[in-house]
């Protein structure tokens, strides 16, 4: 359980990181919180030639509300969301979800953006980003580009971040007045990877759902936003029957992966349960 040998560099700013990535290319690997990468290196499942440690890049440690988005820098730790980072429904949602991420010490070290770049299918933040339609800011030596969540996640541990790229910032849409959220996750133990989880956000006006976001995570190779089911919710008053129908549709549309903790059949039933519970909580 010792990593293979690697070269270690520690750039001090975003521009230095991007330069280091350009220099080392496929050999380089960004180290942020290290909560997944270091374990993978110790198991020798990952053997990067050059570790680019971004922990001294103070210009990446920020949470910046601006207009209708919240911008999250690449060095923002999970723990920054323990209390709502912004007023309003988005801040409440993030503070609700963060409690399900691993354990307290891990949340002091791991980063929001690192979770997205790692793209574990059971990552809570990936589910948040996919469901809310986050926008990713990807930087490299040639400048920066943005990428919508729908195009960002490509599969297990696979994203639109290229060999010379840094996922520099993630922008989450501020949910305005009237939005409320629900999140439900089932895992074997507190802090374990989700066997299934669902995030729901509903905009309620005069007792009617006028906008909706709905997603499921932990059941396939990436978080799934259920856009069609979002549309089924819109224009209707929240009700147990509606949520049951939508949860059943969510289940019908996904064939879950299996692992030693859950068969596909079991996880399929979990989808219905967690979607129903997330919707119910959002409407409560």
């Amino acid at each position: 359980m010792k990593p293979a040998s690697f070269v270690y560099v520690r750039p001090g700013s975003r521009s230095e990181i991007v330069a280091a990535l350009a220099e080392h290319g496929a050999d380089g690997k960004v180290l942020a919180g290290g909560q997944s990468l270091v374990a993978a290196m110790n198991f020798r499942l990952a053997r990067p030639g050059v570790i680019i440690d971004i922990n001294r890049a103070g210009d990446l440690d920020y949470l910046r509300p601006s207009g209708d988005v919240l911008a999250i820098g690449a060095l923002t730790r999970h723990a920054a969301f323990h209390k709502p980072p912004v007023e309003g429904p988005l801040g409440a949602l993030l503070a609700k979800v963060v409690r399900h991420i691993a354990h307290y010490p891990i949340r002091q070290r791991g980063t929001f953006t690192g979770s997205l770049a790692h793209a574990d299918p059971a990552s809570e933040w990936c589910l948040v980003a996919a469901t809310l339609g986050a926008e990713m800011v990807i930087a490299n030596n040639n400048g920066e580009r943005t990428c919508p969540a729908a195009e960002f996640f490509r599969g297990t541990f696979t994203t639109a971040v290229g060999e010379q790229d840094l996922l520099a910032e993630v922008r989450l849409p501020m949910l305005g007045a009237g939005w409320r959220s629900g999140f439900h996750e089932f895992s074997r133990r507190a802090g374990d990877f989700a066997l299934a989880m669902s995030l729901a956000a509903l905009k309620l006006e005069n007792g009617v759902i006028t906008a909706a976001r709905l997603g499921v995570g932990g059941v396939s190779d990436r978080a799934i936003r259920l856009s069609k089911l979002e549309q089924e919710l819109v224009g209707k008053p929240p009700s147990k029957a509606l949520f049951q129908d939508v949860a059943a549709s969510a289940q019908a549309g996904i064939r879950p992966t299996a692992d030693i903790h859950g068969s596909s059949e079991y996880r399929s039933d979990l989808i219905r349960a967690v979607v129903g519970r997330a919707l119910t909580e959002a409407a409560a």
């Binding site: 359980m1 010792k2 990593p3 293979a4 040998s5 198991f43 020798r44 089932f186 074997r188 133990r189 507190a190 802090g191 374990d192 990877f193 066997l195 030693i260 903790h261 859950g262 068969s263 059949e265 079991y266 039933d269 979990l270 349960a273 967690v274």
Partner: protein, 755 residues
């Protein structure tokens, strides 16, 4: 005030809390090199060749060994329960001709640092011709190593025990019940993984292994024998040990390898196991399938019981020999009369990690099985589950109760017990009727909540004997030297309390030396909940001898009659004159040393007993089980330190709950282990643990030792699987639903919602 029965703070804790603990990995020696084991990636196959050239050529590599390099080393022998026919199934320290599980050591690399050792280990290539692995212990036996041992099959032995007239029991039975039950593969997972440092001193010829645990004297003898060294040229030394649970400290291939390498390479050799290795190389346990038939009368009394079971022993038979199966076979009847019984236990090898004992070996499994039967009897006959137990429990007036069979070569004689009394006390503690109606109300409101109760009999204090020596030192402290071992359970404190009770010296002035083979010629270590019973009794005997000797030596010094002298608070005092003299002063003024020896022998084990009660809530949609409340009632005979007893019970209950709901070594169809890290091998954490209520009774002291004590180490785990299974059935209103441990969500889902 007696020092026994008090919750004194542990002597062990000062070094541990001040960072002065020294665990296996803390040992280091000048010039040490590091060992890395190359393990088989294949579950079963013939070794065609092992290429080591690239590894050996790496800078910093000192040596690379395969079986051919240590061909003179015999296989690791049995420490316990040697059964005829097991010998060919022993494990060599490096695989010869065949690999038999993923993790089987095939080569070792020695290098100047652990990183290089791991780099080099990756360069060793094993050419293995894969064969079909056997992963089901209930399947027909298959060849063990077809070419090396033609005709030898994967069933090394069958254990048969019986008493009573089984045919008559079934002939007149009102009901016959048949059950098939399975306990999954899990094990003790100490916080500290294994590790060792071996140093060979060329001047003295002494080979020392640091990092010993559990059974240092036995392992010294084995290592000396395997390496062909005189016993007095091998020394094992135990430091702090971060948990044992039966699995840590047995003699494993790695222990022998570090010693052989230090001796042959002439430099100190260090090995520290990583967690991934630990989960596939250290002993697994449990993994039994039982097929029961019970003959039951109309009152729910079990007239006769037969059981055919299969123990999945893994790739080889290790040091425990047939221990787990023997204990399972002998102790399955537990607290019940069951007048006729016949059991056939099949020890079967598969291509998984070898198995050994783990806290309550054979009892965790058979308590699950037997208590599931009692619940099934209640369900079939429409009786209350508690009433069925009342009908079957051995009454107090039958004690001592002769079971009429043997366990571990000792006659099974339940020394004392008030089973019905403990049951009634437990029900009263719970306010059982009120609790049941509270749960019924919650069920009526839609919650799936339930209660499960399970009775068990433990065993403790395995002989044959134990020796301690003690002496008064010049600084007026007492040193107790014992061959017992500390695995973190509080040996020093408990032995000091027993001594203090006789001598009157505070425990802080009593120093307990353990696990050092050069300090005492014999020692049996720490297993089978034996230390408090065996070593404690020897300490009591030695303390009394020391007291008598102190008085005898003080008599001329005080010019007093020996009958006038008493030992009070560590001083010998004349009752008539009030004159007194301290122990160190007696020692300094006497020609004879102020020391003593205590030897305690026991032919029989003793039998503590208890009850586990679990209250659970099942989320029927998510199929998760939450343990809301947990009670362990336990009659221990007599407590030395109540705080330590409670700690033993609560810790064991956590492991029991883990085995009931979470922990499972899963293999795929190719024999690849899928739970090789803590992300997949799920231990219960503080989040999953309910507060554990402990009801300790001292109503049935053991008549077999001078302290009246029985062991505390295992009773907290024994009935956990049984109680939780019953509680889940109850919560779901589905008697007999749980037939397999652990009760994991995906299987609970499959049984609740069959497709």
């Amino acid at each position: 005030m007696s020092a026994i029965g008090r919750s004194l703070k542990r002597l062990e804790d000062r070094p541990l809390l001040t960072g002065a603990g020294r665990f296996a990995a803390d040992n280091r020696a000048d010039g040490q090199i590091h060992m890395r084991v190359v393990r088989s990636p294949i579950a079963f196959g013939r070794i065609v060749g092992i290429e080591t050239e690239d590894a050996a050529a790496l800078a910093g590599v000192v040596a690379v060994w395969t079986a051919a390099d240590i061909a003179d080393l015999p296989p690791i022998d049995f420490r316990m329960t040697r059964i005829a026919g097991l010998e060919p199934y022993r494990q060599h320290v490096l695989a010869r001709d065949y690999v038999r599980y993923v993790g089987d050591p095939v080569a070792v690399v020695f290098a100047e640092d652990p990183y290089t050792a791991e780099d080099a280990a990756e360069l060793v290539f094993c050419d293995i011709e894969e064969e079909e692995p056997c992963l089901d212990a209930t399947a027909e036996p298959v060849p063990f190593m077809p070419e090396r041992h033609p005709g030898l099959l994967s069933e090394p032995a069958t254990i048969v025990k019986s008493y009573g007239d089984i045919d008559a029991a079934f002939a007149g039975a009102a009901h016959v019940l048949e059950l098939e039950l399975k306990v999954g593969r899990h094990t003790g997972v100490p916080l500290e993984a294994r590790g060792a440092l071996a140093v060979h001193d060329r001047e003295t010829g002494m080979l020392t292994m640091y990092g010993a645990a559990k059974v240092p004297h036995y392992n010294r003898d084995s290592i000396a024998r395997m390496l062909g060294l005189p016993q007095d040229k091998v020394r094992l030394s135990e430091g702090h040990v971060g948990g044992g649970f039966g699995i840590r400290g047995e003699l494993y291939p790695e222990d022998v390898l570090v010693c052989a390498a230090a001796y042959r390479l002439g430099v100190p050799v260090k090995w520290v196991e990583d967690r991934r290795e630990h989960l596939m190389a250290a002993n697994h346990s449990r993994d039994q399938v039982h097929r029961l038939r019970a003959a039951v009368d109309p009152n729910g009394f079990v007239r006769g019981l037969t059981d055919t079971f299969f123990t999945d022993q893994g790739g080889y038979v290790r040091t425990h020999g047939g221990t787990v199966s023997d204990l399972a076979a002998a102790l399955l009847p537990g607290p019940y009369l069951i007048p006729a019984y016949r059991v056939e236990g099949h020890i079967r090898l598969t291509n998984k990690t070898p198995s050994g004992t783990y806290r309550a070996p054979g009892r965790y499994e058979t308590t699950f099985v037997r208590e599931r039967l009692m619940d099934a009897v209640a369900a079939r006959l429409g009786l209350d589950a508690v009433e069925v137990r009342r009908v079957n429990l051995i009454p107090e007036d039958r004690m001592p109760f002769d079971r009429g069979i043997e366990a571990l070569g000792t006659h099974v004689l339940y020394d004392s017990g008030k089973y019905h009394d403990l049951l009634e006390r437990t029900l009263k503690h719970l306010d059982y009727a009120a609790l049941r109606s509270e749960l019924e109300n919650r069920r009526a409101a839609g919650e799936a909540v339930g209660l499960g109760l399970a009775f068990f009999v433990e065993k403790s204090g395995l002989g044959p004997h134990d020796l301690v020596r003690m002496a008064v030192l010049p600084d007026d402290t007492i040193e107790i030297v014992t061959g017992a071992a500390s695995v973190g359970q509080g040996v020093e404190t408990v032995m000091a309390q027993v001594c203090s009770d006789v001598i009157g010296m505070p425990i802080e002035r009593i120093r307990v030396v353990h696990g050092q083979t050069d300090r005492i010629p014999i020692g049996f270590g720490a297993f089978a909940s034996r230390v408090t019973v065996m070593t404690g009794s020897a300490v009591k005997i030695a303390s009394e001898a020391l007291r008598d000797k102190a008085c005898a030596l003080a008599a001329p010094l005080l010019q007093a009659d020996i009958d006038d002298l008493v030992l009070e608070a560590g001083r010998v005092v004349s009752r008539s004159s009030g004159a007194g003299i301290g122990l160190a002063e007696i020692a300094s003024q006497s020609a004879e040393a102020l020391d003593a020896e205590g030897l305690f022998r026991a032919d029989h084990m003793n039998y503590p007993y208890g009850i586990h009660v679990a209250q659970v809530r099942v989320d029927t949609e998510l199929c998760g089980v939450k343990v809301e409340r947990y009670l362990v009632a336990y009659d221990i005979g007599r407590m030395i330190n109540p705080m330590l007893v409670e700690g033993q019970i609560v810790g064991a209950a956590a492991q029991g709950i883990g085995g009931a709901l979470l922990e499972e070594f899963v293999y795929d169809e190719a024999g690849q282990p899928l739970a090789t890290s803590f992300a997949d091998y799920l231990m219960p954490t503080a989040h999953e643990m309910p507060p554990v209520e402990v009801l300790v009774r001292e109503d049935a002291p053991s008549p077999q030792n001078p302290l009246g004590v029985k062991g505390a180490g295992e009773g907290g785990i024994t009935a956990a699987g049984a109680a939780i299974a019953a509680a889940v059935d109850d919560a779901l209103g589905r008697p007999g639903l749980v037939t397999r441990l652990p009760i994991v969500p995906t299987r609970l889902h499959a049984s609740l919602y069959p497709r």
